[in-house]
Symmetry: D2
Subunit: 358 residues, 4 copies
């Protein structure tokens, strides 16, 4: 200890007294206490505490990425913040099991008390989604998500829609990556050649392998598929067309940087960026899992509407799970990797700058 | 120890020597070893070992359920077997993370060696699905799943299609439940009255609550929806129509038994059956999660086909996740629960038979 | 919905606004904000919320067990409450990983602000321990644990020491188990005969197995050990001696009931009690794991005192892990099981009362 | 695909047929099949498969660390291999729960068949321990662990005792760290000054804080403790004395490198080494957890020997948990960190070499 701060006690520091008085079951208010309502309140409060923490870490990452240049030390900080978010997300997913110790019949005892409250009203979660960069949110019952929020929180959440999101800041950072713009190396040209060389090798190997006609033709067809697939990133116009149709979201420049980071991830300078992209995929995957678990639980608790027109919450959640991925471009990118042995070499001049030895 | 069995040693008993020699990476065969192929082999072998164990437990449950009468002791056994399957499934889901320590670029180094092998060829997993009662399996690339299996295993797997599945045996067992057929209690009649009484109460409460027009009308509309929804199980014809359309799979008789088990789950005689139904939901949920995690991983490893016609494995897996649920009737059932306070009482004569005290 | 309750919104119901304002980092108060302090506060608040929930469930179980007779329905409730506690405990253990995303150097930045606050001051956790039935708590630095609590909470916690704990209530309930006191069946007598018969069989089998002298003698020695071990429960005086020395805590009568429940766990009447005893072992195991994980984390964060006299928190936690088990009698009991094939049969008259069929 | 490899099928590639025929329950051999023996075999085979994978990754890490210089690319490989080991370990711990679905009474049905086989006979696990660098293994029943192994495996395991372990190679690598030996920076001198400055500040702050006598004296006493503690690393002789007594295992030179890596972990050059040290702590922690969970399970399955002399397996496992940590020096090191604000600055000349910007 460097200096004697005023003594602190656990209970006061953590506001345990206030904290444990924030559970106000409606059942008690209405004179018909229901045992399981307490769990319902506590677990949702735990979710909101974790959301607060995720927002806190996310804001720190956003602040770093909003700078013009990011020092290597700060890459470590970003990586630590994201790691923490990822570990918290695992808990968010796992603790659905705690809620599932409540059976649908138990829930029914107090469900009516809560109408029309719903998890869709979590302003903090909506902020997380916006700050990550979610756009084109699936609407539920044709209503703007903002309207379902409590009026006081609508402006705060609305504001996060127009702030630069992690997606946007990351895109800009990728576009700045030195490797693409370095004079000595035209990535797209080299990569196209490498891919074509590989395709050519494959074609010849197939033809001289003595395969029966059907197998040969199937192999060749696959090859053509792959060629056309590659066209979609090699051809700027084709890319932009697919981008307009919603198949890609990142600018082609940013996408090429992401591709380079994956292909040359072992280069010292690229290890931290590679780690970062991987973490963002994890964050995406974890929220997808969370929505999926949530959907399962909603199905279990509420069943499905039979013979009526209404749509079910669990179907919405399941659809949103995939649709609300922010970084799916990074997942789709894997189609365009080629093995290390076929990669174009980085010119020595460039390589020298990005290596060191322990 | 009651008698001295011949001494056993760990290594011989577990066949560790043979076991650890079954990993034959193609990379080594082709003279180009790839570090990550070992993990790929080992983790899939672990999956197959667990599948063997799940089949073993499942067969035991099927054997018990194929009897005309099930002793209470055997309900304990079924429940223990299912609990074990559930714990194994959690491991199946969690260990996807181990496979994700392999990056797409690592996978690319040996992916070509394995063509056209695929997880769809796991004969054990197909047997598990069939034994649980999966029907109408989603086809992948318009091909019967059996054809993708290795020819030697096709008859074994095909056979499990026509054996009585857990779904079928469970349906029969539910149909035999004494409570529905007891002379003193007509469940459907009593339940319909209870539901109608509840609806009537609600209608009056809404009308006398002094609500504004819009809110009142919205409440009343919900009520009507619910009424129509209930018709789908109260009306035998309506139920059978929905059943034909694939909304329900269980016979109405079996479904009513499942409903009774949920509604009166606290009755001593019904606690074990309730536990069983809950476990079957867990088994279903866990395989759904597993397929979902698998889909995520496939997306990450293989990307998505862009600008070509082919369908992606990860999309198939994701769709199958929900579609391949076997016991979704039990999930949908929750819509038709009413709170304990409104439940029709079980006649005293019946109740007496099914209670004891500690 | 049966009647229109006043509309509820998510934020108001869960007190999200108040909840997310209870985080008051000392770093900000002192004008030197430290990023990681927020996590430290939030995770401990999450722990306290879960402790509140555990207390809530535990109180419900205690209330049921304080009754003279426990209806079968209530056994289901106890079992559900305990299951919930167990699922919460898993989260308590797993979320230590979230805290471990903070490195010791990060912690050092605000550690001094918090002196002398410590997790030992969690009044809720001490109540949980007392209500479970912890006695002879390991002292930390020779101080009564009550003194470390904040003065306002000391009376509440002290009170839980003298209330009937789950251990005490369970012991009484076990002593009431009908099976032991039933006239037609003297459990101890029958069990002693069964054990002796088994020992005799073993002795003969060993002697006629044609073993070499050394192996035979080793087998016989084991047999004698086991015989002496059994004496410790067959002989009332021996048992009470061991009880005084702290090897057993349960009364011999309660212990014999627990033994019967394990041996005949398949009997319909005993399935629920068996489940209960197993759950109590799980609760114990989970808190032991939690203390152990906590000890690991403390070691990692704070290191160890080198070359000085002080004792380290992590060593205390590790020792407490085992010592603070409440139901270790149930673990130790396994030594005294014999295989099903050797069990004395329950007389038919008794058996008839405790069976039913589905 | 670059060339058409011979087609591969899932079953053949993974040797599924052979794999699923390696389960040979003794119960069947003896004509008395026991349901739970299959799980016992399968789960242990899964453990051995994972051990094989851990050995495979560990060997790769050892190979890299046995080089004179480690390229940055290879630090990424080490880190990936260790991450994989860590993820596998989590599964090893979690799957104990699967084994716990077997009750002690179930185990008793086939326990006698297996005498004297025991998990202590896993040759692969002993190799992992030796390769990590375990020395002074706790003996069980006063027997060298090698003797308990099956004779054919003893030489393989014995050999791993004398090969350079990860501990040894890491120690050498730490000793080579450039930062300690750089001419412009005498780490120990600077650090000692920084610590002393901090202590002096603290002393003054305490004296001028207007504390009551008792509190002041307690604060000062803590300060002295800390001073003496620091002596144990500042003073070479004191360190070596403690090292001989077993309090430290690393050479003081290696320890100082580890200390530097922790203190300046944000420097670009030190981020990867910091990650590595953290991962080694995780590996250690996870095996400790695994032994601890194992101990709990053994206690549950086998109980405790009462009133006899024998020692219990679960007590051995629990003691080994802590004792068999290989990298506990890294845990203990945390005592000697000081906050960032008090750290001696790295000279600019040195700093320039180890930074780059994104």
């Amino acid at each position: 200890m460097s200096r004697p701060y005023p003594p602190v006690d656990y209970t006061g520091y953590l506001k345990v007294d206030q904290l444990t008085q924030l559970q106000k079951p409606k059942g008690e208010e209405y004179g018909t206490p229901v045992h399981d309502e307490m769990l319902f309140i506590v677990i949702h409060q735990v979710y909101e505490l974790w959301f607060k923490q995720i927002l806190f870490e996310l804001d720190s990452v956003l602040e770093i990425f909003s700078r013009d240049r990011i020092a290597e030390q700060d890459m470590l900080h970003c990586s630590s913040r994201l790691e923490r978010i990822i570990e918290i997300q695992k808990i968010l997913v796992d603790q659905v099991k705690v809620l599932e110790t409540m059976t649908p019949m138990d829930f029914l005892e107090f469900r009516d008390f809560l109408v029309p409250a719903s998890g869709f009203q979590s302003a903090q979660f909506r902020q997380i989604e916006n700050k990550l960069g979610l756009i084109n949110r699936l609407t539920y019952n044709n209503k703007d998500y903002i309207e379902s929020l409590c009026p006081m929180q609508q402006p705060t959440v609305r504001a996060t829609e127009s702030e630069p999101s992690l997606f946007t800041l990351l895109e800009k950072w990728l576009e700045r990556t030195p490797l693409i713009s370095d004079g000595s190396f035209d990535f797209w040209k080299s990569y196209k050649e490498a891919v074509e060389a590989r395709q050519k090798d494959s074609r010849e190997a197939i033809k001289t392998a003595g395969l029966d006609k059907a197998t040969e033709s199937s192999h060749l067809k696959n090859l053509e598929h792959m060629e056309r697939s590659f066209e979609s990133i090699f051809d700027k116009n084709e890319y932009e067309k697919l981008q307009k149709e919603g198949h890609w979201r990142l600018s082609r420049k940013a996408l090429s940087a992401a591709l380079i980071i994956h292909l040359y991830r072992e280069e010292p300078l690229l290890q931290a960026p590679f780690r970062l992209l991987t973490q963002l995929q994890n964050v995406d995957e974890n929220f997808t899992q969370w929505r999926h678990r949530h959907a399962q639980m909603a199905h279990r608790m509420l069943g499905a509407k039979m013979g009526t027109g209404g749509s079910s919450g669990h179907k919405y959640l399941r659809a949103a799970g995939e649709r609300h991925k922010v970084f799916s471009d990074f997942f789709n990118l894997a189609t365009f990797f080629i093995p290390k042995s076929h990669l174009p070499e980085i010119p020595q001049s460039l390589k020298a700058k990005i290596q060191f030895r322990y």
